[in-house]
Symmetry: C2
Subunit: 367 residues, 2 copies
Amino acid sequence: MSALPTPRILLGPGPSSVTPRVLEALGRAPIGYLDPELFTILGDLRSNLRTVYGTKNDFTFPLTGTGMAGMESCLVNLVEAGDKVLIGVNGFFGLRMVEICRRLNADVTVINGEWGRILEPEAFAAELDKLGSVKLVACVHAETSTGVATPLAAIAELAHAHGALFLADMVTSLGGIPVEIDNWGVDVAYSGTQKCVGAPPGLSPLTISERAWEVATTRKTAVPNWYLDWKLLRAYYDAPHAYHHTVPVNLLFALQEALTEMMEEGLEARYARHRDVSAYLMEGLDKMGIRLFSQEGYRLPNLNAIHVPEGVTDEVAVRKRLLEEFGLEIGGGLGDLKGKIWRIGTMGASATRRNVALLVAALNEIL
Amino acid sequence: MSALPTPRILLGPGPSSVTPRVLEALGRAPIGYLDPELFTILGDLRSNLRTVYGTKNDFTFPLTGTGMAGMESCLVNLVEAGDKVLIGVNGFFGLRMVEICRRLNADVTVINGEWGRILEPEAFAAELDKLGSVKLVACVHAETSTGVATPLAAIAELAHAHGALFLADMVTSLGGIPVEIDNWGVDVAYSGTQKCVGAPPGLSPLTISERAWEVATTRKTAVPNWYLDWKLLRAYYDAPHAYHHTVPVNLLFALQEALTEMMEEGLEARYARHRDVSAYLMEGLDKMGIRLFSQEGYRLPNLNAIHVPEGVTDEVAVRKRLLEEFGLEIGGGLGDLKGKIWRIGTMGASATRRNVALLVAALNEIL
């Protein structure tokens, strides 16, 4: 038998820890990709995904792949070469949207927001007025790289007023803070399972409105990505279920269980738990004089970005000690923020006061 | 808790059943995607993948995605718009290669082989002489849709003589029949984990020669697929491990365990087991007068394609009874073979005499 991994408490930017009950579901014996019982499981799972997304979108499903596959899937289905796209960037993942659109030879306009602050609707309004018609407006809801949540409704409204679809990255928000696809007017969104949803990594919950479906399925050219083509995927996920690829059935078992657990906890109680644990963490960090990185009033309770404490000359060494001596994982900064901030995830099953108490104690000892 | 799936014996075209020990590994608590222990696991796993592939290729790794993601990954990294590609098609999965290449606007030439028979080197020689220089020659090693294994060495040699790379689909062969990447001259290959490798679905083991790497990394245009871009992926899998996406760590645990199990069994013993179980199945089917579909001398011992028995008017109903009354899954035909053949997988942990005895008994009862 291979060596057992050392137990970790995952307080980084994901994956988060998952409950024993989700691990049990993950380890169930697989069934076939056309087994009628799998479609019962998928039906249950998709229904719960609609609930947590706050949407009636029929085509809401777990894409095979991580959140980044979700991002690529949305862009490659909606954007053709030459299409005008407007992307708000206030962190690492916004940049990735831009990179993917450029590879698709789209005509990309970028709003460069400050990392650590929200994107302002006024910036979108100004660019949209300049651009006239745009096919797609996109941004990240909860930037995993900075710990900030941008309010989306006003941006979605502006996009629609200019005839554009509005796409949001909800990888870090889904299951951790309220998400209201339909009320906010979000046309398409993708997420991941390994952050606040409480399942292991490997699936990307997508929700696609009929409006976005129409745009994707009336495009001029074939989608240059067979594996992520929505038409082929929908033909599998919806009856009569035509074979596309062998879905990762064990990950689906685990996601179903994680969503069942989420519904039992209740969404409001879950969001309250994330807020409570984050506040408890803030108390502990405040006593140590550690400063928050993210814009006040918009900081995520599930992804706590903080400045590397003054006096720490080797932040990597501190994180290494946390991992080796306490089994605690926290995240470093991405891109320009590398070496400057730490990212403490309190997401899903990782969001407990016990985990935070241990982290604060460990930091106190090391610093 | 969600309802437990009914236990199944998976004798279809995949996923196959996995052992309790692999399921135990799958259900271990996740660790982070940059955890040093994960890279130890990946090192072990990648080394064993090289052994089963019969290669020294350094860039051999488990792609996040199923075998179809592996196919797309190879084609999208190697093929640019306008590139000449020659594809041998003798089944459903060869057709999919053609479809993906067309979406990439490649200049595709197709060799239409008969479904159920191998691809002959002479057909490749004739087309290559006509085409002159070609960038890529590709075909499927073990066609999952027909149960036939095409010998690859002669085709690879022809490809090289015309300056082309040779790509092979090894989704169904890897771990079930001998695979010799280096000896046969295969430049690139992809597989899946859920057939003969003995792990759950969701990963695609890839092996990429330095020659193919050179072609992929000196192409003129950016790879129009960020998620499957080899350069970005290699920067994560090789040190110093730059973040690309959150790898599905639980699937990696399971794959490591499945490969450890495979090495303990021994490759020769494993191939012998697949041959033995298939011969035992053939005995049982022969007594029932059921005829083989695949070309004699080249039929796969792990994917047994047979004609739907004469007198069966509703083959779907028979498979439904097998599933509902006996918990046995076998596969139907794909594409033009729908309704005409059955595909019985005896792969990985599913390849046992006990499973076959039950299937033959069940078929005897139903027919």
